[in-house]
Amino acid sequence: MNSNPDAIIIGAGIVGATTALSLTNAGMKVLVIDRGNVATGTTSAGEGNILVSDKAPGPELDLALRSRDAWFEIQEDIGGGFELEAKGGLVVARSEDGLRSLRTLTAAQRIAGIDAQDISITELRALEPHLSHSITDGAFYPQDAQCQPMLAAAHILRATKARGGKFVSGANVTAITTNDGAVTGVVTSQGTFNAPVIVNATGTWAGQIAQLAGSALPIAPRRGFILVSAPTRKIIFHKVYDAEYVANVSSGDADLQSSAVVEGTQSGTILIGASRERVGFQDGIDFEILRILARQAIALFPILADIQLLRAYRGFRPYAPDHLPVIGEDPIFKGFWHNAGHEGAGIGLAPASAQLICDGIFDRPSFMNPTPFAPARFAKAAAS
């Protein structure tokens, strides 16, 4: 590189890619660095759901609502190629209790600005003809969308490069240099790069990168498995899940939580995800979890019993103790920005998170108050 970039982004997952595009569009010269290739981290394990339905009112929902629209703006901006589709989400209740809490949730969500429709059994059947007959109630969320995350990251990075950004793959960041309380650059397995702004977009590994600079972030892995079926004719039309899922998402429990989210993709496969458990970076496949996911999926759609399972894979969600992403400047080092810890919603939340980081770096007001996501919140929690 002839001259130093304005900003270095560590991590070429969906969060790093969208951050790179935002900063580039705002006029900065960016350099994206990853130890692997584009989207070789958790982004390649994500299902690509862009959900508003699974969030209760609060800062994360505000972020999700903006992000959902921002996805379609990115598609406009760079020309798509990543299977973005507003297919709509269907949340079903399978018990009296489940139904009661679902109705409470949709009421609150409507106030927060989500199009959450309580629907009747006839509408339910019209939306998903193969749904189990034991299911009689649900809510429909037309805003729920989806994309193919790896393709999204790759296309966003392609556009970034076309607009002057650079990407170095296979460069492991081993040190972050600082001077007088501000970051100055990164040392990698492929040389040293300097810039006054460094964005830590390393997802599940963001704690390690923070440490390299001498700061800290409490981000841990939360493992998840996904099942992929053989291609079939179209039998599932939306993203369908049990209302229980919403409770699992926000659970702080380390044990296994699982409630199947079932959806058909443009490639004809059916995705069934996803379990959640905090077991560190534990490798291998846990077949008991695969069996649970299969059971739950069949409970929603009995027709799935005859569909073949083709693949199964796992990923590690970047998880912060309060389930909120970490978006903002490091409390210790100037110019060091974190954009990480999006847990099971990083694909959905990436574009708006990038916008918050960009507005932060340019020190201008954004679409929402970023304070709930500030990295400083952990330092405060530790102090008190």
Binding site: S44, R158, S267, R291, A294, L309, R311
Partner: protein
């Protein structure tokens, strides 16, 4: 159901049969599993009707003796029609799942064999284009001649029994097209003569082919195939090629079947699922790494996992038999002296390497492709799609290419295309090994997966 056995052998081909026999004779209770309804693997594939089987096979006597001995052996339980869909290690034991339960053991012998290696070319997806092994399996397993006008093509000694088998059972083989030169074996003559049995087998096939007036052409390859209005194979374009497999001139042949084989690819999926060490062999295929006693290398050192036959490197049935015997004895902790078996194995391995030198597969096949040529048959991914993922989306490794184009994501899980994609991307060895990892070895239905009470 959970079934425990002292030694479990997966694969009932030459390697697995011999492994089961030797382990049982050394005193172990053995389970022999195969997804096929009958034992024999690829080499001794048979219809089970005696009159057919004797006539269609070279060396079937040896196979039927071995299979009869195994069926009669009280220490061996045979599980036919049993496909293992996943394998993992739980509490220091190997768990092998089939659709209604699991086999459990601490001594496992993998002998899952190989399948034909295919090279892509325009039209290779037209019905009528098939592997040489497919034509062979139709004949040996079902007694059916693959077509009315058959071209056998590709490279390697396997083309001879295929063409000879078809023509001696009434099939019309309108050409045997070999990529190597007519005298490619000459520089290796001394080492070939070390194996007179194989040489005489080969000469026998040549005699059959001459009697049937099958024309053999050398330094040629099938580089495209053409369909009739029904979409079925009507003709092929054959090219004269140089040593790099680049085209020098072309002509065409009318045929309804082109049975094409470029050697074999080991099926190491089960070894990969168990995390066994794999490596790239001299011929470029990914194989299971084994020691002197056919033992594979696992992070779980308490386990005794062995691999034998084509999954440790392509070498034919004689090598598979020797490796199977050694693995069987080693798995049984037998104190039998392995020296003689190891000598046979050494000789067979040397012969296999010689053949690989005689029939090399050069990368010039890439020049046969057009942008529209299908590379991944399952997901219908074209050469152009892979190229554009490479140039525009930084998909320069097999995994990225797969996730961005879907090549290798279909029903065969990359078994047919992953090697070719790795060659197209000039992938390093580590990438090739990762590229064959598939935790679900064979598809099962979600209903089967969802059953209660299974491991």
């Amino acid at each position: 159901m959970e079934l425990r056995h002292q030694v479990i052998v997966i694969g009932g081909g030459p390697a697995g049969l011999n492994a089961a026999k030797y382990a049982a004779n050394a005193g172990c209770n053995v389970a022999l599993l195969d997804s096929a309804p009958r034992l024999g693997g690829q080499y001794w594939r048979h219809t089970g009707i005696e009159s057919d089987d004797q006539s269609r096979h070279h060396n079937f006597d040896q196979g039927s003796l071995l299979m009869d001995a195994i069926i009669a052996n009280p220490r061996i339980t045979i599980y036919p029609n049993t496909t293992i869909w996943s394998a993992s290690v739980i509490n220091g034991e190997v768990v092998l799942r089939y659709k209604d339960g699991a086999f459990i053991t601490s001594r496992l012998i993998l002998a899952t064999g190989a399948y034909d290696r295919s090279l892509p070319f325009p039209g290779w997806d037209i019905p009528g284009v098939m592997t040489a092994g497919a034509a062979q399996s139709l004949l040996k397993g079902s007694g059916v001649i693959a077509g009315k006008r058959i071209v056998v093509a590709g490279s390697g000694p396997f083309l001879l029994p295929v063409a000879a088998g078809l023509s001696s059972h009434g099939g019309k083989v309108v050409g045997l097209i070999e990529a190597a030169g007519k005298f490619a074996w000459l520089p290796e003559i001394l080492s070939l003569l070390q194996n007179p049995a194989k040489i005489s087998e080969g000469l026998g096939y040549l005699l059959t082919l001459r009697k049937a007036k099958v024309e053999m052409r050398f330094k040629q390859a099938v580089i495209s195939a053409h369909a009739d209005s029904d979409g079925l194979l009507e003709s092929i374009t054959v090219a004269n090629i140089d040593a790099e497999f680049h085209i020098t001139s072309t002509y065409s042949i009318n045929c309804d079947v082109a049975a094409i084989g470029w050697g074999f690819t080991p099926d190491t999926s089960m070894a990969g699922a168990l995390g066994l060490k794999e490596e790239v062999a001299a011929d470029g295929s990914v194989v299971v790494a084994v020691d002197e006693n056919q033992r594979a290398s696992s992070a779980h050192s308490e386990l005794h996992i062995f691999a034998a036959g084509e999954i440790t490197g392509i070498g034919g049935s004689a090598l598979s038999l020797a490796e199977g015997a050694i693995a069987g004895l080693a798995a049984a902790d037998s104190r039998t002296n392995l020296r003689d078996l190891k000598k046979i194995r050494r000789k067979a391995r040397r012969f296999a390497l010689t053949l690989q030198r005689v029939y090399p597969i050069a990368l010039g096949w890439k020049s046969w492709l057009t942008p529209e040529t299908i590379i991944c048959r399952c997901e219908e991914v074209t050469h152009a799609a892979i190229q554009s993922a490479f140039t525009e989306l930084d998909a320069d490794d097999a995994r990225s290419a797969k996730l961005m184009t879907r090549c290798g994501m279909g029903m065969c899980q990359g078994r047919i295309c992953s090697r070719n994609v790795a060659d197209l991307l000039d992938s390093p060895d580590a990438d090739r090994i990762k590229g064959v990892y598939r935790p679900i070895i064979s598809p099962i239905t979600l209903g089967e997966l969802a059953q209660d009470g299974l491991l």
